[in-house]
């Protein structure tokens, strides 16, 4: 497109009082020969907007630079047609408010003016270099079908709910029948007000719904052999029991996937300290369901009716030697099973030994119901031993009870309330690990720390980074589990139910509805060529200039979302519908071959070149901060809003994520005479806040390599520093900049100034 630039500078909100507007305009008109440049005292008002719009019509301005407030505000007001390019320059929060002496004393000096002029230059250059976005259209045909993996309560619910919204669903279950764990249950604990009566498990009702819904196709006794492709284009190969022939393999394409593979109960064989294995009368809560379902709760040893039943909570849960976590529903399950015992025989007694009774929310009412039952004895305590005594009976010894003393209870049946292990946590060794070829070994060592992916034989993704979802801990998938619980690190694959987090059946069903929605949404967005979370709606995408690729594998290794496969010669093969547009690949590439139309090595380098670096004798140092636009930039805005004073020697370039920070920018900046460089991004580590999960961690990792560059330029390593910042830590920013400036003063100016 032939660009015609229009620069519009707002003098409102104190900008006009703080800056020489005429001089600022000259940066555009003289410095960059911008054909249209106007100032207005109230640009976001009707008149101001009217000017911009009529210039578009009358003058053909199609590339607009708005120099006014932060792009985080007035987003809806400064919104123009998609056939126009628009760039915002933040003169308010980032310049005059952060330079104000106080709320009443605006800044008005040379340094503030230089800052504003630099930002205007950077904005103009960026607008000049940016190209119009064209949404990505893949070659193949996009499928709108949803694949649900797992036919338990969660999977069935996801299928039904997507079906009810008019979507086609394929449901795959490895067992012969649907129903999953619910199919083993005698009853479920109450899931609705008044939380008193036991209910039938929901699977039979769900099964009827599935059978009557023509949108749902079911494969039982089937597992997934391979999934290739990406959102909209997932090519699935099924393996069905009894149909081993290769050419009969079922193949189809789906648009998105719900992973509802469920859980397995924790292996009670590891609980010998609680008597499991030494007496047949020590059983698990799952075996207890089997007994209840058979019609009579009897002892395995002699078939005698069990009338004294002890329940041991947290059997292998909340225990660093077994499962460190809590499985959330075992307390309610044991209360339910105690009621089984009592309903079967009014004279029977049930003992429940717990660490903490966890009947969250309104399940409290169910707990109260159990407490009111005179045959159910509940006590906090630590079970220290279960021994077999005369007549195949068992003696349970409990310490630290509420009664203040150790107790010993005789029982004819002991039930261990075992926890859950997500199916994704169980490693299946399906043959030998592929050994690296000698050629592969010779390839330069890659940078990123390797991801641990458990080969659980569920999805079998044909992804370079591994066949299953990256896990966070204990086999549960990695995600921002508080704010965006469904967003796994494999685009278009949404986990639901106990495979995502331990939860009861009611929560699993809720969870499945959400996962179904996300799957539908992913297909819709993919079909429009738009990104999904967290840059939802983004139409930009990375383009690879393959002629210059050196097959170094950094992009394929570092992509946090596994979006890039590679061919046998290690050329990257990006699957763009998997891409989240974070730019980590752009940051990783040493050959600078990866670019977005509105974000590239060249665009950022050109912005840096637009900064005017004063000569050394002017004693005006310059520091540059690459700041993450997700959290650090909003924090900088808030510092401005709160009129926190920030050094006038700072220049800021927003980056999509610190992961998109390419080391070449650092050497470019230093060779230009910038004195020091800060990288400010989200916190990394176990409780990472990086929106793209790995970005800030990777930036940190890459930075360990920057020393080479600095050594080559004979510069001090203190000139480059990474800082982790939360969005609400805006109050720390002035200090961070001040401290860095002091370091720069100590080590002196960059010797490359003026070159």
């Amino acid at each position: 497109m032939d660009k015609k630039l229009g620069v519009y500078i707002c003098s409102g909100c104190g900008i006009g009082e703080s800056l020489d507007m005429e001089k600022l305009s000259k940066v555009a008109t003289m410095g960059y020969k911008v054909p249209v440049c106007k100032t207005h005292p109230y640009l976001c008002g009707e008149e101001g907007l009217g000017i911009i719009n009529s210039d578009g019509e009358a003058e053909g301005v199609n590339t607009i630079v708005i120099a006014a407030c932060s792009s985080r505000v007035n987003h809806d007001i400064f919104a123009f047609d998609t056939n126009k390019i628009m760039e915002r320059v933040n003169l308010r929060e980032q310049v005059i408010w952060s330079q104000a002496v106080s709320e009443v004393l605006p800044p008005n000096n040379e340094d503030t003016q230089m800052m504003a002029e630099d930002y205007l230059r950077m904005g103009i250059v960026k607008a000049q270099k940016t190209e119009l976005l064209v949404p990505y259209k893949p070659e193949g045909e996009i499928s709108r079908i949803i694949l649900v993996v797992g036919g338990g309560i969660s999977g069935m619910t996801a299928a039904i709910e997507a079906g009810k919204a008019g979507r086609q669903v394929v449901l795959v279950e490895k067992e012969q029948t649907l129903g999953g764990f619910a199919g083993r249950l005698y009853k479920q604990f109450p899931k609705q007000s008044l939380y008193q009566s036991l209910q039938l498990p929901p699977h039979e009702i769900l099964l009827k719904e599935i059978e009557s819904n023509p949108n749902i196709k079911v494969y039982t006794s089937a597992k997934i052999k391979k999934i290739a492709g990406g959102p909209g284009l997932f090519d699935v190969t099924l393996e069905q029991e009894g149909k081993p022939s290769q050419d009969e393999a079922v193949q189809f394409r789906v648009g998105a996937i719900v992973l509802a593979a469920g859980f397995v109960p924790y292996d009670a064989a590891k609980l010998s300290h609680l008597g499991f294995g030494s007496s047949p009368n020590v059983i698990t809560s799952v075996q207890m369901e089997d007994l209840a379902k058979k019609g009579k709760i009897t002892r395995p040893s002699d078939g005698k009716e069990a009338t004294n039943v002890a329940f041991i909570q947290c059997a292998g849960s909340r225990d660093p030697n077994h499962l460190p976590y809590c499985s959330t529903f075992c307390c309610s399950t044991s209360l339910k099973q105690a009621i089984y015992v009592r309903e079967q025989n009014q004279d029977a007694e049930a003992y429940i030994f717990y660490k903490d009774m966890r009947t969250m929310g309104q399940y409290e009412d169910f707990y109260i119901r159990a407490q009111e039952d005179e045959g159910i004895f509940l006590t906090k305590g630590e079970v220290v031993g279960v021994e077999t005594i005369a007549g195949n009976n068992l003696a349970v010894t409990v310490e630290n009870t509420l009664l203040g003393e150790n107790i010993r209870v005789e029982a004819d049946l002991v039930v261990l309330a075992t926890g859950i292990v997500p199916a994704t946590a169980i490693e299946f060794i399906t043959g030998e690990e592929p050994q690296p070829t000698t050629e592969e070994c010779k390839v330069e060592e890659t940078t990123a720390p390797k991801e641990v992916i458990i080969r659980s034989d569920i999805l079998n993704l044909d992804y370079r980074q591994g066949p299953e979802l990256p896990q966070l801990r204990y086999g549960f998938p990695d995600s921002h589990f508080i704010c965006f619980p469904y967003e796994t690190r494999r685009t278009g694959i949404y986990a639901a139910g106990c495979v995502r987090h331990p939860m009861d059946m009611s929560a699993s069903m809720d969870d499945a509805v959400g996962a179904a929605l996300k799957a539908i949404q992913c297909i819709e967005l993919t079909n429009q060529g738009k990104a999904v979370h967290p840059r939802v709606g983004d139409e930009s995408y990375p383009e690879f200039f393959m002629q210059r690729c050196t097959q170094c594998k950094r992009c394929t290794d570092e992509c946090p979302f596994g979006a890039i496969n590679e061919d046998e010669k290690f050329n990257p093969l990006p699957s763009l519908t998997r891409c989240r547009r974070c730019g980590t690949c752009l940051g990783a590439c040493p050959e600078r071959i990866i670019s977005f139309k509105n974000y590239s090595i060249d665009i950022v380098s050109s912005m840096m070149k637009a900064i005017e670096v004063p000569e050394e004798d002017e004693e005006k140092p310059r520091i540059l901060a690459f700041m993450c636009e997700n959290d650090a930039i909003p924090a900088l805005d808030m510092a401005g809003v709160n009129r926190l004073q920030i050094t006038p020697y700072l220049r800021v370039i927003p980056v999509r994520c610190l992961g998109s920070m390419n080391l070449v920018w650092i050497s470019d900046a230093l060779s230009k005479g910038i004195d020091g460089i800060l990288l400010i991004g989200c916190k990394h580590g176990d409780d990472y806040q990086c929106h793209f999960v790995k970005g800030s961690e990777l930036a940190n990792y890459r930075l360990s390599k920057v020393k080479e560059t600095l050594d080559r330029l004979r510069l001090e390593s203190e000139r480059v520093k990474l800082v982790q910042l939360s969005i609400n830590e805006y109050d720390l920013l002035p200090g961070i900049f001040k401290e860095f400036m002091e370091t720069m003063e100590k080590i002196g100016p960059n010797p490359f100034k003026g070159f």
């Binding site: 909100c13 008044l194 508080i482 929605l517 949404q521 997700n630």
Partner: protein, 409 residues
């Protein structure tokens, strides 16, 4: 018939339902009674268990709202009336006057000149603002608002505003919209601690609630994030956290709010981080940290200056001579009554579902909308059941699909 969705409540649940439905391709109207979106999470300092700031996720969600033309939102708004049935509801909205139009640039000149003050409910009345104020630093919309009760109608701000944004004569308006389904995400309010006689709230200044503790710890709160007790603004060295303050109690809220144990553990980290020589005493009935949150309990309880005591607090009283707070409780595991002298007490008050919607809704005995309504009206978040942010987001996402099903049927 209408293909649009109305979402009542602009907290994290309502926002989630709105953006998830809109991004799937449906038009939504989101209404919020406060002058800003964000609800309770905007008041939180950090989330458990990651100890990350809620603004981080909120910032993304707000960008999703602002950039999506399918979402219309109205603050200071409520439902005045509803007619119709699933697929075709006529809803009358009432929009209270903001007295500041969208011409506002949030430059702040008005607040600088305003002579009147109001207690800041956002900070649980722990501080004040001018009568014309910006609700908080991340407020959406990013416009000032006038508190009608506090405003003197002096017109000083009108003269100070260069943009003609202040309209003291602004009137409430009504607006009719047609929607196919409705999501109730009206959230919660903290249980009124003054109703718990034995725990000293309202009687002793240094007995505060967990929501007040969030504001005290927040960098944009009344003490700029310094942990100071209200009576003398000194650093409390010994703080008691009283769990189930008015929860799991037939005289107050019979249910468990599902978040307070984790919230107190989180607040213990605020204290321990800010005041290294401080001690925290948490009195509980059961510590309820379900699922992976167990790791957080392990982490916090591993701190040797954190004491977890199983026992319900019987009373919080002030020593008449020394004015020190004394917490009386039964230490169940030690089998004795104990008294602990502390500098501040934080009551872990539960969540009560917000009521007062002018529409017919089938609620359970505790006021939650836990039952299927069967008429294209759905509940999400704490309006449905007591739950934390992660679970609220989870079921608010699913509720978007339910609401969509009602209109594609």
């Amino acid at each position: 018939m209408s293909k649009d969705i109305l979402i009542i409540g602009g907290g994290i649940s309502g926002i989630t339902t709105a953006v998830e439905a809109a991004e799937t391709g449906y038009n939504v109207t989101l209404i919020e009674k406060n002058p800003y979106l964000g609800g309770r999470v905007a008041q939180m300092n950090r989330y458990f268990p990651k100890l990350c700031p809620p603004y981080c996720g909120l910032e993304i969600n707000i960008r999703r709202i602002k950039t999506n033309p399918r979402i219309k939102y109205f603050t200071l708004s409520s439902v005045e009336g509803i007619k119709g049935q699933e697929g075709n509801y006529e809803v009358t909205l009432r929009i209270q006057p903001r007295f500041v139009s969208q011409r506002c640039t949030a430059c702040g000149e008005c607040a600088r000149v305003c002579p009147a003050e109001r207690r800041d409910a956002f900070n649980l009345d722990l501080s004040s603002t001018k009568a014309i104020y910006l609700p908080h630093s991340l407020a959406v919309p990013y416009n000032y608002v006038i508190d009608e009760k506090a405003c003197l109608k002096c017109g000083t701000c009108v003269d100070a505003c260069k943009y003609g944004a202040i309209e003291l004569e602004m009137q409430a308006e009504t607006k009719n919209i047609n929607v196919g389904s409705i999501v109730v995400a009206t959230g919660w309010q903290p249980y009124d601690a003054t109703r718990i006689d034995n725990l000293g709230f309202g009687k002793y200044k240094d007995v505060i609630t967990n929501m007040m503790m969030e504001r005290i710890a927040a960098p944009n709160g009344p003490t700029q994030g310094k942990i100071l007790r209200p009576s003398d603004m000194s650093e409390p060295k010994k703080v008691a956290f009283v769990q189930c303050a008015g929860s799991r109690d037939e005289n107050h809220l019979p249910y468990c709010s599902a978040v307070c144990c984790l919230a107190s553990l989180k607040q213990i980290t605020y204290l321990r981080e800010a005041i290294p020589d401080s001690q925290a005493f948490m009195f509980y009935i059961d510590v309820r940290t379900p699922g992976k949150y167990e790791d957080f309990l392990t982490k916090v309880s591993g701190d040797e200056k954190v004491f977890l005591i199983k026992g319900k607090v019987a009373a919080v009283e002030e020593d008449t001579k020394t004015k020190e707070l004394i917490v009386e409780a039964e230490d169940i595991l030690a089998g004795k009554k104990i008294k602990v002298q502390v500098d501040m007490v934080v009551l872990a008050c539960g969540m009560q579902p917000n009521n007062g919607l002018s529409m017919n809704i089938n609620r359970d005995k505790n006021g939650f909308i836990s039952l299927e309504q069967g008429n294209g009206i759905y509940a999400a978040g704490v309006a449905k059941k007591p739950q934390d942010v992660a679970s609220s987001v989870q079921n608010a996402t699913g509720t978007a699909l339910k609401a969509i099903q009602s209109i594609v049927r």
